[in-house]
Amino acid sequence: MAVDYVARSRARTRRRETADVAALVRRLDWLLIGFVALLVAYGLWAVAGITRHDIAGDPNYYLVRQSVYAAVGAIGLVAAVVIDPERYRAWWRPLFLGTVGMIVLVILRGVESNGSKRWLDFGFFRFQPSEFGKVFFVLALAGFLAERAQKLGEARTTFRAVGLACVPIALVFLQPDVGTAMVYAAALAAILFVAGTPWTHLAGVAATTVLVAVVLLWAAPAGGVHILKPYQVNRLTGFFHPQSDPGGATYNIAQSKNAIGAGQLRGRGVNGATQTNYDFLPAHHTDFAFASLAEERGFVGASILLGLYLLVVWRGLRIVTLARDAFSAIVAGGIVFGLLFQIFVNVGMTMGIAPITGIPAPFLSVGGSSMIANLVAVGILLAIHVRARGVRR
């Protein structure tokens, strides 16, 4: 009598998995998926117009690349949905070390571009670790705080969390990539905020940050110590006085505002967008992609993008409230706020109301690392939603 336990067990497993997959699919936040899909599609359509005249003879050069990135990102998204976020919590230490290690590797071995080392070159593609670092950073810090959920009221916890976060922030700062460092800092703030750090601690951290910023941007340069390079200081402070130097540090901003304004209500179309096509707009397919979109598609086109961003942020915040545990909530809060911060700094930069930093527009700027990392982040949000409380099983 040979009972085929193995086969039965396999069949059971398969059944359970099928049931699991079915449940997982059923419990996905389809609205969020829909909004992100629309956002990616809209971004691709925008990129098609923005880069049409960039590479002579190959109008779809960037569109094809960006589509491949989006496809790879979609795979990453699916993978992130399947993985239980609980694993990240258990593995936060290796994640943290991995993040720091990658940044160090970039500083040691990275490819330099525009005076800053941000990329690792793997021959067939260039990989920007700090983009993925955003996600890992949030996961690691959330893990750290989740372990100390009972001791959040203690100043020691806040101190140690900030101290821990300062390692990657400082390293990214040294690349130097001030923009990404700012995104990390914003994510840290959101993480502490959502975790439930007392208001007094938050105020203390905020005060310290302001003090550091004043020292870096004003006091130290005035005293002759240049921690930031002068061009960085100019970029960060230039938007306070936009008319001061139209040919230099604020040239980009002036051209960007010209591009956006010239778009008017309906846009100038792909062929009429002179700011984009004649290269007056710097980095118009990456950092200033929003300005380019606004020039070609006008207020209508730019508003559609901002509206989609708003919807994604709304669904993200909703997931924070549904999270099954503190860790998930903190992760979701960090990711959503990081996204919001990137949107504000990038779009605000192109319109002259935020400092000039090299932060790409999520789902719009051409760039594989950014696109994939953002889709993975959405995947983690979905993973949290799938396992959330109160979601129909």
Binding site: E86, R89, A146, E147, R148, A149, Q150, A190, F193, V194, G196, G247, Q255, K257, N258, A259, I260, G261, A262, G263, Q264, L265, T274, Q275, Y278, D279, F280, A294, E295, G298, F299, A302, S303, L306, Y309, L310, V313, W314, L317, V320, T321, A323, R324, D325, A326, F327, S328, A329, G333, V336, F337, L340, I343, F344, V347, G348, M351, I353, R389
Partner: protein, 675 residues
């Protein structure tokens, strides 16, 4: 046993960690925080939307304008400069098409190292030294939107190279341009003048008259005098460029350029050529005569004009230069070689100097008709009064020599003019000295009425007025300060001053143009003409405009000097005898010429440093006259520097001009016996 099993189990299945996975409760305080985040998100998007609305909808038009201006460069399209024609419409100066290489400073790379690399490359391609390009850009540094021309007349290969690689040369552009072209080379260089880019100092003065930096402007001669007719009206064109200043479209004219008008001169090309040849003949004759100092005969001027209206038929000056050295990019080396820079002008005897109007010489015996007319008018002599012509004349202890020491005869005025007797005129000069002081200097007064010591009004500049010495002039010139040793003596007008003035010597200085004008007055019966070169200004048909002759302000009509017709007749007879009677000073030159020419030789002593550092006296050879003697149609005044006697060099030169003018040649030439 049971404990162990529990331990094993607990290792396999970790108890849920209450610190972390404790059921997450959405406490009111956490809900508040998420609410705050939500509000923040709404505020952020509200700010972004409002800003976007403000930029695109509220002030979109303004930014659209900015974006459009961004890529538009307004370019001045230079009008083609009008040609200069001779009186029969033959071309003296015209244009040829050229391509120039321009640099737009505002479009050069922003980084210094890139900029230097690009400019070095451009310098190599267009074969202009880098320092010259850098200097040109520096000169325009206050005016970034005007292109700096680094090379005019670039070759096809250079232009092709730059055009093919225009992506690598932001801020470098090629443009079509017009270059001055001189089909007859150096012919009439002093008449025509030359054209260069306007200097910053000129822009400052002329900006109100519509001159812009980068315009071409006439710098001398007719090009300068009639720049307003020649230069035309520049047009405006628009060019679309990208952010690196690389052109994206061709020039798109928004205002058409109107070409400059043609300026027709009274100059006769053939006569001008003859006049320039005549100067060579005169200088060769001088050198061949081996007279003292004639080895140094290296300059001269000829003026030929119509005595009836003052229109100049030919105006030559030697040494000369080819104005085409200024066409296109002016190279310092080229100017040096042509003697047009201060460094090389002196060794080459000042080629840029127009000796016909801008150089003054003592007139010597060609002045004697002035003295004769003044003396007759003042009643100091009568036409038939005989004075003794001797080898020398002594007054107040000073002895003044005749050019011909062997002379000894009684002469009337006519003969004295014809034979050019110095001692006769010394006596006349001394009579002028004897006039009462209250009448003032009468000889100078008549000379002044005949146009000496003042501008002739010719339409060429600069013009020298010469020097008509008077007692007042002496007093003002020789003071304790200027002449500390002998001022008390030198400031006095002495008999010698009057005596030497009578034969056109000592301090007196005149220009060949003044002399020609004076002889024109004798020829036309006493009217002082205004010499001029402009005949008319002709507007070419262009852009639907019809060609037309433009009105120009007429020149001053011949002005009567009210000189006595009888006195004039005596002088005219004397001048005719000078070329025809046996004792005439240029009978050897003009005696055999089929047309009756009347004229006077002159040998003027002038202290000159021939370049060896020892200034000494050299004879300046003059001849002034007109023909035909009974109804003159042409006055010629020739001057050969260091040419010896008037009959040696200047008279043969003048003859060559008459030969061309009357299309006839002298049949015989006799021996020359003249001063």
């Amino acid at each position: 046993m049971a404990r162990r099993a529990k331990e094993v189990l607990s290792r396999r299945f970790l108890p849920r960690d209450p610190r972390t996975v404790g059921p997450y409760r959405l406490t009111p305080s956490l809900a508040l925080r998420i609410g705050v985040l939500g509000m923040l998100a709404l505020v952020v998007f509200a700010v972004l939307f409002l800003r976007l609305w403000a930029l695109q909808v509220l002030s979109g038009a303004q930014y659209l304008r900015a974006a459009q201006n961004n890529q538009l460069r307004t370019v001045r399209v230079q009008a083609s400069r009008g040609p200069i024609l001779d009186r029969y419409g033959r071309v003296l100066v015209t244009n040829r098409a050229g391509t120039e290489v321009q640099i737009w400073p505002s479009d050069l790379p922003k980084r210094r190292s890139d900029r230097v690399r690009e400019l070095r490359e451009v310098a190599r391609i267009v074969e202009v030294p880098l320092w010259q390009i850098a200097a040109a850009i520096r000169k325009h540094r206050n005016d970034l939107l005007t292109p700096v021309t680094v090379k005019t007349g670039a070759s096809e290969v250079q232009v092709g190279y730059l055009w093919e690689r225009r992506e690598d040369f932001p801020g470098v552009r090629t443009a079509n341009t017009y270059l001055r072209s001189y089909p007859h080379g150096s012919l009439g260089a002093h008449i025509l003048g030359y054209v260069t880019e306007i200097s910053p100092a000129q822009v400052k003065v002329l900006a109100k008259q519509g001159y812009h930096p980068g315009d071409e402007i006439g710098q001398a001669g007719i090009e300068a005098s009639y720049d307003r007719y020649l230069r035309g009206t520049a047009g405006v064109a628009k060019l679309v460029v990208d952010s690196l200043g690389r052109p994206r479209t061709h020039l798109n004219p928004s205002t058409m350029a109107h070409p400059g008008n043609a300026v027709r001169l009274t100059i006769d090309l053939k006569l001008q050529q003859a006049a320039e040849r005549a100067l060579q003949i005169g200088m060769e004759d001088a050198r061949a005569s081996q007279c003292y100092g004639c080895w140094n005969a290296n300059g001269g001027a000829i003026v030929a004009l119509d005595p009836r209206d003052g229109s100049v038929r030919a105006l030559a000056s030697w040494p000369t230069y080819n104005p085409s050295v200024y066409a296109g990019r002016v190279s310092l080396r080229g100017l040096d070689a042509a003697g047009l820079t201060p460094k090389t002008a002196q060794p080459l005897n000042y080629p840029a100097l127009d000796r016909a109007v801008d150089a003054a010489y003592p007139p010597g015996s060609t002045w004697k008709p002035v003295t004769a007319l003044a003396a007759l008018e003042e009643g100091l002599i009568t036409p038939y009064e005989n004075l003794q012509c001797t080898g020398s004349y002594t007054v107040a202890g000073h002895t003044f020599n005749n050019w011909d020491p062997a002379a000894n005869a009684w002469m009337d005025l006519r003969t004295a003019v014809a034979a050019s007797c110095d001692t006769y005129f010394y006596r006349v000069g001394y009579r002028f000295y004897g006039l009462p002081a209250r009448l003032g200097p009468r000889l100078q007064a008549w000379a002044s009425r005949f146009g000496f010591g003042a501008s002739t009004g010719v339409d060429l500049s600069p013009e020298r007025t010469g020097l008509l010495p008077t007692p007042d002039w002496r007093k003002a010139t020789y003071t304790k300060k200027t002449d500390p040793r002998g001022w008390e003596i030198d400031r006095l007008w002495k008999p010698g001053d009057s005596i030497q003035l009578a034969i056109g010597q000592k301090d007196l200085l005149v220009t060949p143009m003044q002399m020609a004008r004076f002889y024109a007055m004798i020829a036309n019966g006493g009217s002082l003409v205004t010499p001029h070169l402009l005949m008319d200004v002709e507007q070419p048909p262009s852009n639907g405009r019809r060609g037309a002759v433009l009105p120009t302000s007429p020149f001053a009509a011949p002005e009567p000097t009210n000189v006595d017709a009888g006195a004039l007749e005596v002088v005219r007879q004397g001048l005719l005898e000078a070329t025809h009677s046996p004792f005439g000073t240029s009978v050897g030159v003009f005696g055999g010429f089929p047309v009756a020419i009347a004229g006077k030789t002159g040998t003027a002593e002038k202290t000159i440093d021939p370049g060896d550092g020892y200034p000494r006296i050299f004879n300046q050879s003059w001849w002034c006259g007109y023909g035909p003697a009974d109804s003159p149609t042409l006055v010629v005044c020739a001057l050969i520097e260091n040419g010896g006697h008037g009959g040696t060099a200047a008279a043969p030169a003048a003859l060559h001009v008459f030969e061309e003018f009357f299309h006839t040649q002298v049949s015989t030439t006799g021996p020359v016996h003249s001063d």
